[in-house]
Subunit: 284 residues, 3 copies
């Protein structure tokens, strides 16, 4: 008998009511031995970009074969596909195919993807067949539980489709030159107010950037300059004074912006997404 | 040997300190193999109505025999009863008998109820015998753990009392006429700002309401009209433009109010409870 | 084969992104059968005092041998030690040695402490070796998982050092006289707005304080009087009217301040820490 897979959930449902509990109840009715782990239920409502980034952010640290469920689903009830994707490195993702797979597709690669067959892998008989607004509970949670408990195989999720059809949001590729680079502000660290770029620290070091360098940072949004300043590229926050902005190598090995013992986001009003670009240039 | 029951907790303790952890520690000391699932710890403080609704909202999706613990307990330390209720469909609820069982009593029915015998089923010897402010930890959590791990049977909780004595908050019954209905705004969806009425979609459809109809909605609070407008009864939010209000069939098969990609609660200042009434009439 | 230990986590990471999930993934890769329990991830950012208090607040209610992980780590990447402490009553704590052990050292006592050997008990090979900002994931979570799953013994954590070297924040000892006492406001109850002092109820009762007494309370902060008023020392909140301030014996057997059905913190603007002192005197 094969072992259950771990189930990791991220949604924008919040944790103030019983929405998550209803979804988890469905999982436990499928197989009460399934282990459920919260990633986060506080994704910004309707924000598919954040869902995509957060899904990617933690995935590689989990055991191969873990089943992730991601439900940020502004198009629930419309014609967007409900799918299960299998990444090239062996993780499963149960999600609306609405852009949530953008980062995983780009950074892990998708091996195969299947559309969930609602005639089989959707909750029925709980008096909720007529409602189409809560696919987290009735479709994604239920299907993920069946997959994680090996009631169904990946093949039994539903018909395969080409992974090139998976919806991807646009992400500008970073550019690296000698002691210069351009990218985007990819996401925030919502608790500490840091910002993560999509510039890889390894690539910067290979292009003449060094820890301790002073670097001119220019952040543009919608054609306007929002932030322009020389910052130190520090190994630790201790290298700058409290409330000073600083560049550092974040936990995912990307160039990032922080304010020591403070919030870069609040102090400078900088956001994230494809339309927030950053240029970095080593001061000679 | 009988198997452990699942334990699902909801409280108004918040998750910012170690209050929940202390309660869960007590559970794990009773039996460290017990599985604990958070429903929510962010119920509005002291709000028994919300506790009652949230308890009901998720219950039916869980396996029969699951033990729910609900602690919103403004009368802790007073003479309100501490009880375990068994619903007609086989769920256990460990809770102060202060109105928290209102929705479950009405919609599931209560098969039997017992007052917790504090001489047996209360935590002793942890240096907290003298305190009477934290029954979530010392009484409800402890007793629920003993029940879920089958250390005690339901009968050993304490003396039975008549289920007609269970405290119930008033809920006005909905009225359905031909193409017209009246009810209450029963609760909110705190993350998305939607509002759920106690009008059943099935009953509305049986009384001449149809998807696609334009329906005149009037919401009254304390004798004053707070909202009056014609809304579409839509199958999906995609049928109206962003920021437009809309009627829909919610995940529990009740008529509900939303703003597409927005918050009905914030946009129109509407609350919930027995004193928020709604009238719905199909436009001919 | 020895059984896994329970793992209880508290951090200031928040629960809005995948930071916690990345840390838990690392734990599950070490041993996917490990059980992880959230204490809280909403400690005030960088607040070591709160980390110390919250760690102590719940610990005694857990089974002996439980492994606690506490990560509030403003000095990450600097020379502060990363350690595992074993308390005199048999709990393990994996934490930066930065003051987080203050309350546990004072109230439980530390039996032994070891510095984590990063050459062995740090995550390697996940592409994050170069980053030094996320020890929750790469060091504390990883090491705790190895300890909890008995892959390593306590001795294999790393070299022992003297428990007298453990960093402790200053806490003024309470003073008790006949019908008078002085102490500090030690912490808040962030959900209900209560405040806990470090005055033990048992000691107060032994020095002539009685339930039902009227007691003059004076709260000073930085040399200024912030609150001065006579309050009733009540057994339950029901003894005063809603919105009235009251003294009570809290869940940890300490004298505490509340507003019935309200928030003492908000109503009176009182904070907590070593520099918030309280004097209590029974009115004759």
């Amino acid at each position: 008998m094969s072992e259950n897979r771990l189930l990791v959930f991220q949604t924008d449902f919040g944790y103030k009511d019983s929405t998550v509990a209803a979804m988890y109840g469905v999982v436990k009715r499928v197989d009460h031995t399934l282990e459920i782990i919260d990633s986060t239920h506080e994704l910004p409502p309707f924000d598919i970009w954040s869902a995509s980034y957060r899904l990617w952010q933690a995935m590689r640290f989990w055991p191969e074969g873990t089943v992730f469920v991601s439900v940020v689903d502004p198009g629930v009830g419309t014609s967007r596909r409900a799918c299960v994707a299998l990444t090239k490195d062996g993780y499963y993702i149960v999600t609306p195919d609405n852009g949530s797979l953008t980062h995983v597709a780009k950074y892990h690669g998708i091996q195969a993807v299947r559309e969930i067959d609602e005639t089989i892998n959707r909750l029925h008989g709980q008096g909720t067949d007529e409602t189409s607004v809560f696919h987290g509970r009735d479709l994604f949670g239920y299907c993920a539980a069946r997959l994680a408990s090996n009631i169904i195989s990946f093949e039994a999720v539903g018909p395969a489709y080409d992974s090139s059809e998976v919806i991807q949001l646009p992400i500008e590729q970073p550019f690296y030159g000698t002691k210069t680079a351009r990218g985007i502000i990819e996401i925030d660290d919502p608790n500490f107010g840091n910002l993560f770029t999509n510039l890889k620290t390894d690539a910067l070091l290979a292009h003449g950037f060094q820890y301790g360098d002073r670097i001119r940072i220019t952040i543009m949004h919608a054609g306007e300059c929002v932030f322009a300043r020389e910052l130190v590229f520090a190994r630790t926050f201790g290298e700058v004074r409290p409330n000073e902005p600083v560049l550092y190598n974040n936990e995912l090995m990307n160039l990032s912006l922080a304010v020591s013992c403070g919030s870069f986001v609040k102090q400078y009003g900088v956001g994230f997404g494809s339309d927030w670009t950053i240029a970095a240039e080593v001061i000679q």
